[in-house]
Symmetry: C2
Subunit: 257 residues, 2 copies
């Protein structure tokens, strides 16, 4: 393999058998040395969890024709850490995560295993993108999402990117004909309004299922939620510096220690 | 109870039996109606995980003399969600998380269950603070940390705070005599350099333990890492809007879709 062949690390949070990661692998074919390291089971809602209390398993698998693939017992963030240290032994040129079966726009970025894998890569200085389809189904039509993934991977590979660049890309439920294109957005202010479905188990003990309703509380423009509603794929650059600069200014003025 | 008695929700990620949460409960005594909802087992490294794939248990316990307390089978973020919907039925005035046994400064904010509970509260609009001691031990001397927690809780309760305010507070290993006080900081750019301790199980199969070394790569001033080194407790306001504004400007200039 030529020395300038880019190394492309692919992972996800729905697990290595999910149709979404297969669509992403196919989208990346031919762009470089593609290596898949993904969880061996679904990890949705894992946020940026890492596994420190138990050991990790890592096994080579045959999943994607001609593509080196590994499954890992850990979280998406674990997969990125293990991939770099135990499999690649080099810094990948880009990391692609997804395609997630379900939306990760706005506040979902914090709950999302898909985005946590991409964020882990960005912390390491690997330009990375998380892809999510708004379609939660198993039999999602990933045609548009895969086109978007390939387009952005090529763009990221062909250009010097800013340090720690990390993109949260969500794809609406559209056909190639109704798809409006890509839009650079900011994260909408939204939240989940939780309700807990209260039940009794066969022994009469209480338990709860988390259910929730997504509420967009953002009345401004330029948000990912807005773009998706209009039929665009949203592209939100995500920071790994969580300092709230406005709140910091306020505290420096108002709080004397 | 008077209507203007503040409601103070306390949680953590080391679990309800950890000495750190007991120190925090004692620090908050007398400041309002204190209610504890915390994981029934340690949840360190859980990041912002939420539990959607299995049901949650929630049980009332007697742990802290005269303080209403519940243990939950879920993650720190689950605890905050459940507390609001199933226990308090009102918006708490503040949420305090910790005191964590171990540092959560700089990039640790993303891996930290302590901070994820506080972040979940902030998303809900509850002013919140996560407290962490740099001492990883079980028998930590929480004297200074508890003083800091009480001081900041009183400050937050006595003042109209900015929307979605969320503070990441870390306390160095100091005595009341050597403690320098509080300092408002920004998050240092740092990362964990992972290594995986490779072993074979009794059946000859490979497994890996994650081990890591924390590296501060930030050469600037005003960071939490710097303040802690000098003997200050660091106070970093944390955002729930992860849009990278600088990267967004760059993309808008460089990427035409």
């Amino acid at each position: 393999m030529q020395k300038d062949t880019p190394v492309i690390l692919i992972t996800n949070d729905d697990g290595i058998t999910a149709p979404g990661i297969r669509a992403l692998v196919d989208a990346a074919r031919g762009l470089g040395r593609v290596v898949v390291v993904a969880p061996d089971s679904p990890q949705s809602g894992m946020g940026h969890a890492i596994t420190i209390g138990q050991p990790l398993r890592l096994d080579k698998v045959e999943m994607f024709d001609g593509i080196e693939s590994w499954q890992c017992s850990g979280t998406p963030a674990d997969c990125v850490k293990l991939a770099r240290d135990k499999i690649l032994h080099v810094q990948p040129d880009i990391c692609l995560s997804g395609i997630n079966h379900g939306a990760n726009h706005s506040i979902n970025v914090i709950y999302s295993g898909t985005m946590s894998a991409a964020m882990e890569a960005a912390i390491e200085g690997i330009p990375s993108i998380g892809f999510s389809s708004l379609d939660y189904g198993f039999n999602v039509d990933f045609t548009v999402a895969a086109q978007v993934a390939r387009q952005l991977a090529i763009k990221m590979l062909s250009q010097k990117m800013p340090d720690h660049i990390l993109l949260n890309v969500n794809i609406p439920i559209v056909t190639p004909e109704t798809f409006k294109g890509l839009k650079i957005c900011r994260q909408a202010y939204a939240k989940w309004e939780e309700q807990f479905d209260h039940r009794k188990d066969p022994r009469g003990k209480d338990y709860y299922w988390m259910v929730g309703r997504f509420i967009n509380m953002d009345t401004g423009t330029g948000t990912d939620v807005e773009a998706l509603k209009e039929g665009y794929a949203s592209v939100v650059p995500v920071t790994i510096d969580f300092t709230d600069r406005k709140a910091k200014e306020w505290l420096e003025k108002e709080w004397q220690f």
